[in-house]
Amino acid sequence: MSHTVGKKTPLVDGAQKVTGRAVYIDDIVLPGKVMLIGKILRSPFAHAKIKKIDYSQAKKLKGVFAVATAKDSENRFGVLPITKDETAFAIDKVTFIGDQIAAVAATDEETAIRALDLIKVEYEELPPILKPEKSLAPISHPDQKIQPWSKYEGNIFKTVNQSFGDVEKALKESAVVKNGKFSFNGVTHAFTEPMGVIANYGSDKKLTMWSSTQVPHYLHRALSEVMEMPMHRIKVIRPYVGGGFGGKSDPFPHEMAAAILSKKTGKPVKILFDRDEVFISNHGRHPTKTEMQMSATKDGEFTSLEIDALIDGGAWGSFGVITTYYNGVLSLGPYKIKNFNYNGNRVYTNKPASGAMRGHGAVNSRFAVETLIDEIAEDIGFDPCDLRIQNAYEPNSITANGFRITSCGIKECIEKVKIASNWDKKFKKMPYGKGIGIGCGFYISGSALPINWERMPQSTVHVKIDFDGGVTVHSLAAEIGQGSDTVLAQCVGEVLKCDMSRIRIYSKNTDTAPIDLGSYSSRVTFMAGLAAKRAAEEIKKQILNAASKIMSSPVENLELRNDQIIELKTKSSISFNEAVREALHDSGALHGKGHYQAPNLNPGLPRVNELRGKESEKGAPMGGSHKGAAAGLSPSYSMGAYVCQLEVDPETGLVNVEKVWAAHDCGKALNPLAVEGQIEGCIHMGLGQALMESFDYNRNTGRIENPNFLDYRCIPPTMMPDVDVFMVESADPEGPFGAKEAGEGPILPILPAVANAIYDAVGVRLRNLPMTPEKIISAIAKKK
């Protein structure tokens, strides 16, 4: 009988949010009224040398306490240790419109803005490189190299080539080959809370930083490098965060700027972004051009998949190495395809950097795969749902590129939505303009290989219980609205079977919380959940030992149940508090520790941690032994299948998405309320990218055309469809109580489902996202 797992649980920090008491970065007021406001000077050019910065006038302005530039720090940082290409301020040149050149700290916002006006910068403009195709080409002059330390040719950031089986041979044996050229506009996270940071460098030479971040640990490391301070003198505090989705999962230049300004002034400095600065920061989904080819036999067996991806990275690396891998390696699952070629290139361009965004690297390729599958289905006369079921993996399989799939509910997902949507009565049978389509998804529950190759668990949780009977859980897992604090509480609560109000989560402070790598790549439920469960199990032992003493009964006869310890034979019981207080004797507060480290997923090869400290590009031998084998490797994979029903107005091209049936295999829904919320939120975000969201760059200048919520359009409530959610529980053998991820995977199926439904409705296949009204009517006109 489950105590909390599987029950709809309101978020443990929800009461603060609905009463307006949750403290976000801009709500923080430090005592003493000494906090300064920082503002950033940004480059108006996409590519230019910085000849001279003169801030003497700015410094003289009354109310200005400090101005900082690259002279204050040239140390490089970046979220991936192998591509640290960012600095607090642009050093010799600026590489995108919006690049951070200088920052001021002043008494108030108006003074800070006026100070920026007084900073004189002399630039020597360089031609911007904006087309990713151009970045592939070798350069003819050193000035054309956007990031000089990149070791690749031209302006290439990363190249990945992977090959399995024999695609050529497979093609010869295939009855149908479908291919297409796809292009995906960049999209961005568009969370409602702009980023912000407060840095406080005290007279004790210690730095405290509050930041709206998903990755306090990576921020902690980066600060240490940039400020040249040991980590133990730096404390990072994550307040409530108003959404992240990957857009707050890097250490940022504005965070470094705030720290530098605080050190210079000896006062706390707050930098809060205006909405256009949030867009400039970007780190959204990469604009990508993908050529894809898929083949199958006439009996519907998928035989090969070939992908060529050109990924526009913008001016920095960010998570780009991983993006380049994920565009290819996550395209195989959930289907059995043995023959696979992938060629991916991520390039630098003079635009705001792209980075990690929900479904990182997999969303665009998944769109292409799922629409080609539908084309194959049509060609060989198969139903699209049945064709997918036929090729889907079973539990306990290994993919062609060495991924170990354990729990696998993809077939059940497809069957559920096929039946619920009444697919057989609707597919190809509805009147012109109305259509139904299916799309599937496959995603990691965190990366088995951490980005820093230390011998350190990926998540550690400490639990403390003291005299008051409260259960304090310490973890650095970042609560950004997805419900991670609640997951930790449920994992601990399920083990201790105590009143959930005893449990309090302390996840905000690097001083006290043991390291969790952060909320990205959908790792927290699986990894922090397991760590929490293990910590609770350790403390459970202490409680049961104490209870055993009190009740004079062996531990095997005792059970924790509903805030009590029950003796199974006599049915007598003592309270949780009684057992705790007994356990305190001679030891003081109880303490339990648990951690998670991804297992060696291929026993024949050495663990990655044994390659300690080697930042070599040879790739960690986990899973397969090919280069980059670890990219995409995960202790468990989620899958999903969605059916989307919509109506297209063939004259205006406007799409009305009527209903979505969404089945997501999350292993076990620890908190069905949160899992449903994530699925519905993912559908919202995916529909946005499919139909109307687009990060538009000016073709000639690289300037973002729409850095505001008016022209960057997210789906409004009146255009959201009804959604029927099915949580498929395939009971992962390793996940906490069987759970795996449900935060990013649920975005993948909706985009292809929409495209396939549009084809069913009006007979046009669109291969450029977003599928805006004008593209739809153009395609319809072309068809005629």
Binding site: P10, K17, G20, Y24, A190, G242, R275, G677
Partner: protein, 171 residues
Amino acid sequence: MTLIPFPNKKIGKKIVEFNINNEIVELAIKPNDLLLDVIRYKLNLTGTKRGCDMGTCGCCTVLIDDKPVLSCLTLAMQVQNKKIKTIESLQENENMHPVQECFHTEGGSQCGFCTPGFIMTSFALLKENNNPTREEVKEAISGNMCRCTGYIKIVDSIKKASEKIRGKESK
């Protein structure tokens, strides 16, 4: 120098008196002070949020004389003698208002940043119409933006709250 310098103009403050959350306050306000900034930074009522500056997200929604208003596009001087309600005022003693409670129990709030704005808009809606259809709810909240929930559980929360409110009123 810069193409668009911030204008340098000295302007005087005026005393503005208004009722906020049932308390009369008197503040020295500049003509270009925004109501949102006065609420957040002068009165320290940080429940109302700043999301987009341009009235395109609704996170700054407060009630002025019971009407939902975008406080980021409202001049603070214009609220002389008006009654303002922010999220902090909804709670009676230790109990949450039904709208707050339902956003909490029905999953209408995830990261919580847009939540105060939605709650104020819903509060105003339910005062005007205590039994809205789902379509009427969606229409009423179409000036507020959420990136986390996809709006479905927000509509669920408001519908549940309307049930609770009608239940209370019939007692």
